[in-house]
């Protein structure tokens, strides 16, 4: 299941819903992304007041659904969930939730990491950080590309 929303989410309630009435699930893995209060800048770490997440409505949902479908092709999943927020978020706020459930832990853990790695390089979201020197668009990181490519090589 895919959700793109401005509102926060309740992790406990989402996990309960994801696993309800499915006794084949033996393991649930999850990743939660949070807003930090510091970000790397050209002059070391800079404090962040908040960030605004922009996205491409339509393509975002399409890409997230494709990524989720790919995870379901690669691993025997009983359930999966991606929630990604947009709009203005403050340090400590939740940004993203990825959760995968399977009969056994390996499929759940691996597919969860796959989903967040692919999401970071394929889903059309952009972060604008509020720094003391003004709004700063976050640059994509080579390490994220490398993490996503690792999964491509294994397929």
């Amino acid at each position: 299941m895919i959700r793109v929303q401005a509102e926060d989410f309740d992790i406990g309630a989402e996990f309960a819903r994801l696993t309800a009435d499915n006794r084949n699930i033996g393991g649930l893995a999850s990743f939660v992304g949070l807003v930090r209060d510091m970000a790397p800048s050209r002059t070391g770490n800079a404090p962040i007041g908040a960030m605004t997440l922009e996205h491409y409505p339509g393509m975002t949902e399409k890409k997230l659904a494709e990524i989720e479908a790919e995870a379901n092709r690669r691993w025997p999943l009983e359930a999966s969930l991606i929630i990604h927020r947009y709009g203005r978020l403050e340090p400590g706020d939740r940004i993203v939730l990825v959760a995968t459930a399977s009969a056994h832990r390996q499929a759940a853990l691996e597919s969860c990491q796959f989903l967040i790695d692919w999401l970071k390089t394929k889903a059309p979201f952009w972060k604008l950080e509020e720094t003391p020197s003004g709004g700063q668009w976050v640059d994509a990181r080579d390490s994220d590309d490398a993490a996503a490519k690792r999964w491509a090589a294994e397929s």
Binding site: H84, W137, A140
Partner: protein
């Protein structure tokens, strides 16, 4: 065709969305970017470094040789940074 701009491309070009009518000779993503770049200083600044411009045609990632046509929805944006 409809062009959408996101993140800093939107800021440099000064609009989030516009309807454009490029000449018939513009049939690929690369040709469209060349045509857009010549439209003004903001466009030129936004498209100066093609390495950091990603393109989607009808909501699918597209390379420079991908075909573009009337009625397409084209989006230009920097490398994504979600998650």
């Amino acid at each position: 065709m409809k062009i959408l701009y996101f993140a800093w491309l939107k800021g440099k070009i000064g609009t989030a969305e516009e309807e454009v009518q490029p000449p018939a000779s513009v049939t690929t993503v690369a040709a469209l970017l060349d045509w857009l770049e010549a439209r003004g200083a903001g466009y030129a600044a936004a498209l100066a470094n093609r390495e950091v411009v990603r393109v989607a045609v009808n909501q699918e990632y597209a390379g420079p040789d991908h075909r573009v046509a009337q009625g397409d929805e084209i989006a230009l944006f920097p490398p994504v940074t979600g998650g």
